[in-house]
Protein backbone atom coordinates (compact mmCIF):
# COMPACT_ATOMS: atom_id res chain seq x y z
CA UNK A 1 0.00 0.00 0.00
CA UNK A 2 1.26 3.46 -0.89
CA UNK A 3 2.25 5.68 2.00
CA UNK A 4 0.95 9.04 3.12
CA UNK A 5 3.72 11.63 3.16
CA UNK A 6 3.44 14.53 5.59
CA UNK A 7 5.85 17.44 5.56
CA UNK A 8 6.14 19.81 8.51
CA UNK A 9 7.19 23.05 6.86
CA UNK A 10 8.11 24.61 10.20
CA UNK A 11 10.77 21.97 10.91
CA UNK A 12 11.56 20.65 7.43
CA UNK A 13 10.84 17.11 8.58
CA UNK A 14 9.08 14.70 6.19
CA UNK A 15 7.41 11.57 7.57
CA UNK A 16 5.66 8.59 5.99
CA UNK A 17 2.80 6.54 7.43
CA UNK A 18 0.24 3.98 6.28
CA UNK A 19 -3.18 5.13 5.09
CA UNK A 20 -6.06 4.88 7.54
CA UNK A 21 -9.13 2.85 6.58
CA UNK A 22 -11.03 6.12 6.15
CA UNK A 23 -8.37 7.46 3.77
CA UNK A 24 -8.45 4.24 1.73
CA UNK A 25 -12.22 4.49 1.44
CA UNK A 26 -12.06 8.17 0.45
CA UNK A 27 -9.42 7.48 -2.18
CA UNK A 28 -11.49 4.69 -3.72
CA UNK A 29 -14.53 6.96 -3.86
CA UNK A 30 -12.55 9.76 -5.48
CA UNK A 31 -11.01 7.37 -8.01
CA UNK A 32 -14.50 6.27 -9.02
CA UNK A 33 -15.61 9.90 -9.33
CA UNK A 34 -12.55 10.67 -11.43
CA UNK A 35 -13.26 7.77 -13.79
CA UNK A 36 -16.80 9.12 -14.24
CA UNK A 37 -15.51 12.64 -14.88
CA UNK A 38 -13.02 11.44 -17.46
CA UNK A 39 -15.60 9.31 -19.23
CA UNK A 40 -17.94 12.29 -19.45
CA UNK A 41 -15.20 14.56 -20.77
CA UNK A 42 -14.09 12.01 -23.36
CA UNK A 43 -17.68 11.45 -24.50
CA UNK A 44 -18.20 15.19 -24.83
CA UNK A 45 -15.00 15.58 -26.84
CA UNK A 46 -15.97 12.67 -29.11
CA UNK A 47 -19.45 14.12 -29.67
CA UNK A 48 -17.98 17.51 -30.53
CA UNK A 49 -15.52 15.98 -32.98
CA UNK A 50 -18.27 13.91 -34.62
CA UNK A 51 -20.56 16.92 -34.97
CA UNK A 52 -17.71 18.93 -36.48
CA UNK A 53 -16.95 16.22 -39.01
CA UNK A 54 -20.62 15.89 -39.93
CA UNK A 55 -20.92 19.66 -40.40
CA UNK A 56 -17.84 19.70 -42.64
CA UNK A 57 -19.28 16.95 -44.83
CA UNK A 58 -22.55 18.87 -45.20
CA UNK A 59 -20.74 22.11 -46.00
CA UNK A 60 -18.66 20.33 -48.65
CA UNK A 61 -21.86 18.94 -50.17
CA UNK A 62 -23.11 22.52 -50.49
CA UNK A 63 -20.07 23.35 -52.57
CA UNK A 64 -17.73 24.98 -50.07
CA UNK A 65 -14.01 24.31 -50.57
CA UNK A 66 -11.83 22.92 -47.81
CA UNK A 67 -10.21 26.35 -47.36
CA UNK A 68 -13.62 28.00 -47.05
CA UNK A 69 -14.76 25.45 -44.47
CA UNK A 70 -11.56 25.91 -42.48
CA UNK A 71 -12.00 29.69 -42.58
CA UNK A 72 -15.37 29.38 -40.83
CA UNK A 73 -13.75 28.15 -37.63
CA UNK A 74 -10.94 30.73 -37.52
Amino acid sequence: MAKVIEVDCSTGVSTERDMTAEEVSAQEAMAAEQAKRQAEAEAEAAATAAAKESANVKLAALGLTADEIAALSK
Binding site: A2, K3, V4, I5, E6, V7, C9, S10, M30, Q34
Partner: protein
Protein backbone atom coordinates in the same frame (compact mmCIF):
# COMPACT_ATOMS: atom_id res chain seq x y z
CA UNK B 1 7.71 46.15 -6.95
CA UNK B 2 10.08 43.41 -5.94
CA UNK B 3 9.02 39.79 -5.97
CA UNK B 4 10.86 37.10 -4.04
CA UNK B 5 10.42 33.37 -4.57
CA UNK B 6 11.39 31.43 -1.46
CA UNK B 7 11.65 27.63 -1.56
CA UNK B 8 9.78 26.12 1.40
CA UNK B 9 10.15 22.39 0.76
CA UNK B 10 10.60 19.90 -2.08
CA UNK B 11 9.26 16.39 -1.61
CA UNK B 12 10.42 13.57 -3.88
CA UNK B 13 8.47 10.32 -3.81
CA UNK B 14 10.45 7.19 -3.04
CA UNK B 15 9.96 3.59 -4.10
CA UNK B 16 6.48 2.27 -3.41
CA UNK B 17 4.90 5.61 -4.29
CA UNK B 18 2.71 7.81 -2.13
CA UNK B 19 -1.05 8.08 -1.90
CA UNK B 20 -0.80 11.73 -0.91
CA UNK B 21 1.63 14.46 0.05
CA UNK B 22 0.69 17.05 2.66
CA UNK B 23 2.55 20.23 3.50
CA UNK B 24 1.62 21.18 7.08
CA UNK B 25 2.44 24.27 9.13
CA UNK B 26 2.96 26.46 6.07
CA UNK B 27 4.56 29.76 7.13
CA UNK B 28 2.05 32.60 7.19
CA UNK B 29 4.60 35.22 6.25
CA UNK B 30 4.35 35.24 2.45
CA UNK B 31 1.92 36.96 0.10
CA UNK B 32 1.16 34.03 -2.22
CA UNK B 33 2.02 30.36 -2.53
CA UNK B 34 3.33 28.52 -5.58
CA UNK B 35 3.33 24.76 -6.08
CA UNK B 36 5.35 23.05 -8.80
CA UNK B 37 4.28 19.49 -9.61
CA UNK B 38 6.23 16.98 -11.68
CA UNK B 39 4.38 13.72 -11.26
CA UNK B 40 3.07 10.48 -12.63
CA UNK B 41 0.26 8.21 -11.39
CA UNK B 42 0.83 4.48 -11.01
CA UNK B 43 -2.82 3.77 -11.87
CA UNK B 44 -4.23 2.70 -15.21
CA UNK B 45 -5.13 5.27 -17.83
CA UNK B 46 -3.49 7.83 -20.05
CA UNK B 47 -3.96 10.68 -17.66
CA UNK B 48 -4.93 11.17 -14.04
CA UNK B 49 -6.45 14.03 -12.06
CA UNK B 50 -4.60 14.69 -8.83
CA UNK B 51 -6.66 16.30 -6.08
CA UNK B 52 -5.74 19.54 -4.35
CA UNK B 53 -7.13 20.21 -0.86
CA UNK B 54 -6.54 22.83 1.78
CA UNK B 55 -6.41 22.65 5.58
CA UNK B 56 -7.25 18.96 5.78
CA UNK B 57 -10.71 19.27 4.26
CA UNK B 58 -12.13 15.84 3.45
CA UNK B 59 -14.40 14.38 0.82
CA UNK B 60 -17.52 15.64 2.61
CA UNK B 61 -17.07 19.35 1.90
CA UNK B 62 -18.60 21.20 -1.05
CA UNK B 63 -16.59 24.41 -0.86
CA UNK B 64 -14.49 24.03 -3.97
CA UNK B 65 -15.29 24.89 -7.58
CA UNK B 66 -13.36 25.22 -10.79
CA UNK B 67 -13.70 26.16 -14.43
CA UNK B 68 -11.49 24.21 -16.82
CA UNK B 69 -10.46 24.38 -20.44
CA UNK B 70 -8.69 21.30 -21.65
CA UNK B 71 -7.18 20.24 -24.93
CA UNK B 72 -6.43 16.69 -25.95
CA UNK B 73 -4.50 17.40 -29.12
CA UNK B 74 -7.61 17.13 -31.28
CA UNK B 75 -10.22 19.21 -29.51
CA UNK B 76 -10.69 21.82 -26.79
CA UNK B 77 -13.39 21.26 -24.21
CA UNK B 78 -14.59 23.61 -21.45
CA UNK B 79 -16.06 22.20 -18.27
CA UNK B 80 -17.24 23.46 -14.93
CA UNK B 81 -17.49 21.80 -11.52
CA UNK B 82 -19.16 23.45 -8.53
CA UNK B 83 -19.81 22.31 -4.99
CA UNK B 84 -16.94 19.84 -5.15
CA UNK B 85 -14.58 18.61 -2.43
CA UNK B 86 -11.37 19.23 -4.36
CA UNK B 87 -9.74 21.20 -7.13
CA UNK B 88 -8.08 19.01 -9.74
CA UNK B 89 -4.51 19.10 -10.96
CA UNK B 90 -5.11 17.27 -14.21
CA UNK B 91 -2.93 16.03 -17.05
CA UNK B 92 -0.81 13.76 -14.89
CA UNK B 93 0.38 10.78 -16.97
CA UNK B 94 -0.99 7.41 -15.88
CA UNK B 95 0.57 4.01 -16.41
CA UNK B 96 -0.79 3.84 -20.00
CA UNK B 97 1.05 7.02 -20.97
CA UNK B 98 4.50 6.88 -22.51
CA UNK B 99 7.02 5.53 -20.02
CA UNK B 100 9.23 7.97 -18.15
CA UNK B 101 6.99 10.96 -18.84
CA UNK B 102 5.94 13.13 -15.93
CA UNK B 103 3.47 15.99 -15.70
CA UNK B 104 4.46 19.63 -15.60
CA UNK B 105 2.01 21.61 -13.50
CA UNK B 106 2.02 24.94 -11.70
CA UNK B 107 -0.42 25.95 -8.99
CA UNK B 108 -0.60 29.60 -7.93
CA UNK B 109 -2.53 30.50 -4.78
CA UNK B 110 -3.06 34.20 -4.26
CA UNK B 111 -3.37 35.88 -0.85
CA UNK B 112 -3.46 32.60 1.03
CA UNK B 113 -3.59 34.26 4.45
CA UNK B 114 -6.45 36.63 3.67
CA UNK B 115 -9.95 36.33 5.08
CA UNK B 116 -11.42 36.26 1.57
CA UNK B 117 -12.12 33.17 -0.52
CA UNK B 118 -9.00 31.72 -2.14
CA UNK B 119 -8.36 31.92 -5.86
CA UNK B 120 -6.22 29.23 -7.46
CA UNK B 121 -4.81 29.18 -10.98
CA UNK B 122 -3.49 25.89 -12.34
CA UNK B 123 -1.84 25.13 -15.63
CA UNK B 124 -0.92 21.52 -16.15
CA UNK B 125 0.07 19.23 -18.98
CA UNK B 126 1.28 15.76 -19.67
CA UNK B 127 2.89 15.78 -23.07
CA UNK B 128 3.96 12.19 -23.83
CA UNK B 129 4.85 12.06 -27.53
CA UNK B 130 1.67 10.14 -28.30
CA UNK B 131 -1.46 10.86 -30.32
CA UNK B 132 -3.35 11.90 -27.23
CA UNK B 133 -1.89 14.15 -24.58
CA UNK B 134 -3.53 16.74 -22.41
CA UNK B 135 -3.21 20.40 -21.52
CA UNK B 136 -5.38 21.98 -18.82
CA UNK B 137 -6.00 25.56 -17.72
CA UNK B 138 -7.96 25.65 -14.50
CA UNK B 139 -9.42 28.55 -12.50
CA UNK B 140 -10.26 27.27 -9.03
CA UNK B 141 -11.88 28.72 -5.94
CA UNK B 142 -11.96 27.57 -2.33
CA UNK B 143 -14.90 29.24 -0.64
CA UNK B 144 -13.39 29.50 2.81
CA UNK B 145 -12.15 32.52 4.75
CA UNK B 146 -9.50 30.59 6.71
CA UNK B 147 -5.84 31.18 6.12
CA UNK B 148 -4.26 28.27 4.27
CA UNK B 149 -1.86 26.47 6.60
CA UNK B 150 -1.91 23.05 4.96
CA UNK B 151 -1.94 21.80 1.36
CA UNK B 152 -2.59 18.20 0.36
CA UNK B 153 -2.07 16.68 -3.07
CA UNK B 154 -3.77 13.29 -3.47
CA UNK B 155 -3.12 10.76 -6.22
CA UNK B 156 -5.98 10.53 -8.66
CA UNK B 157 -6.13 6.81 -9.30
CA UNK B 158 -3.69 4.73 -7.29
CA UNK B 159 -0.52 6.40 -6.13
CA UNK B 160 1.91 9.18 -6.91
CA UNK B 161 4.74 7.38 -8.67
CA UNK B 162 8.35 7.14 -7.59
CA UNK B 163 10.53 10.09 -8.66
CA UNK B 164 7.56 12.47 -8.69
CA UNK B 165 8.41 15.78 -7.05
CA UNK B 166 6.27 18.50 -5.55
CA UNK B 167 7.89 21.75 -4.54
CA UNK B 168 6.24 24.45 -2.43
CA UNK B 169 7.39 28.06 -2.67
CA UNK B 170 6.38 31.20 -0.86
CA UNK B 171 6.15 34.43 -2.81
CA UNK B 172 6.70 37.80 -1.20
CA UNK B 173 5.63 40.96 -2.98
CA UNK B 174 6.99 44.15 -1.61
Amino acid sequence: MSVFLQPIYTQTVGSGGASSITFNNIPQTFTDLFLKVSARDTGAGTQSDFQLRFNGTGSGVTTYSDTVLYGSGSSAVPSRHSGTSVIYISGVPGSSATANTFSNAEVYISNYTSSNYKQVVIDSLGENNATTSFLFIDAGLWRDTSSISSITVVAGVTAIAQYSTISLYGITKG
